[in-house]
């Protein structure tokens, strides 16, 4: 019963992080939220007796993907904004 409640709580946390990642305009926060999704997912995989998949998810989803997204954001734009996108399109078509 406790495990079931914990699983439901983790699922709710995952959903909340996913919604936050979509709504948030600051892309850095959104990327951290996606990292939280992966972290919770790896805990869930471990609870569902799939340690192999949990290891993969923890290594790739939490560490590698998040860091690569953070580096990409640092080299491009941080805010998801319409004016930024227009500027970007203009600079590429120039």
């Amino acid at each position: 019963m406790i495990a079931f409640i914990l699983i439901v709580l983790l699922l709710v946390l995952m959903l909340a992080a996913a919604v936050y990642a979509i709504v948030q305009k600051d892309l850095l926060y959104a990327v951290i939220a996606t990292g939280i999704i992966s972290l919770v997912l790896s805990i869930l995989f471990y609870m569902l007796q799939a340690p192999d998949v949990a290891l993969t998810e923890a290594a790739i989803g939490v560490a590698l993907t998040t860091i690569i997204f953070v580096i990409t954001i640092r080299n491009t734009v941080r805010m998801e904004d319409e004016s930024d996108r227009d500027k970007n399109i203009k600079s590429t078509t120039k």
Binding site: P51, D52, T56, A59, I60, A63, I67, T76, V77, N88
Partner: protein, 240 residues
């Protein structure tokens, strides 16, 4: 008119795909071979313990029973890394300078120097013990790449030799394919397990499974380290 055509085309494709899927019969507990009904999961579990002497069933399925799929996975990773490199690695022999906002403090640098060997050791442990404990080549390789990422972030002028990475990656890939070809010995098939199984729960057991997983671990580590290094050294040309 165009939209109607597209919808019609999608409907036809969807119909045939769904028909194929209905014929497969997912979740069947038996398969028929030579007019004999055999349960799938029992065969895998029995073969894993009795013939292969491997304690991790996931590994035995991924590397032995479905070894060709794993070769395909490794190829997919290799292709994606090649595509990324061809897009980002424009200037040969002249990688762009790393853009650094502020240099790392001495706590971070000495901490990463302390952690780096431990992380590499953990990754090596994970892929060497792939047939005994959870984990395997992919996971271990990613953990090692994370260690290199830590060093690259902490030290501004820490660099990895692309030539060495390419050599390691090619050798590991050749090892995987070569072990697969050696399976033709004794009239076997591609990627057949031709070495003896050994003793259950021993480090040197499971035939060719440890060899393949060590090769996969080196390959994945080299590829992902190359990806991180290339992305980090990409000069931010767009100043937003």
């Amino acid at each position: 008119m165009k939209k109607v055509l597209v919808i019609l085309l999608l409907a036809v494709v969807g119909f045939y795909i769904s028909e194929t899927f209905f014929d497969i019969g997912f979740g069947n507990t038996h398969f028929v071979q030579n007019d004999q009904i055999k349960p799938v999961k029992d065969t895998y579990l029995q073969q894993t313990v009795q013939t292969l002497k491997v304690s991790n069933t996931v590994t035995s399925i991924v590397v032995n029973f479905r070894g060709f799929d794993t070769l395909g996975e490794v190829t997919v990773l290799f292709l994606s890394v090649t595509a990324l490199g061809s897009i980002l690695y424009k200037r040969r022999h002249h990688v762009g300078e790393r853009s650094v906002l502020f240099s790392a403090s001495s706590i971070v640098t000495s901490g990463s120097k302390l952690l780096f060997p431990a992380i590499v050791l953990l990754g090596t442990y994970v892929f060497i013990h792939g047939h005994l404990s959870p984990g395997g080549g992919f996971q271990g390789g990613v953990i090692i790449a994370t260690g290199f990422l830590l060093m690259l972030l902490a030290y501004e002028n820490y660099s990895v030799s692309h030539t060495n990475l390419a050599v390691i990656e090619s050798l590991a890939g050749i090892t995987f394919a070569g072990v697969g070809l050696l399976g033709f010995m004794n009239g076997g098939t591609f990627l057949q397990n031709f070495l003896p199984g050994g003793v259950l729960n021993d480090l040197f057991s499971g035939g060719v499974i440890p060899i393949i997983y060590i090769a996969v671990g080196f390959k994945v580590a080299a590829e992902l380290t190359g990806v991180i290094y290339t992305v980090l050294n990409e000069k931010g040309e767009y100043n937003g």
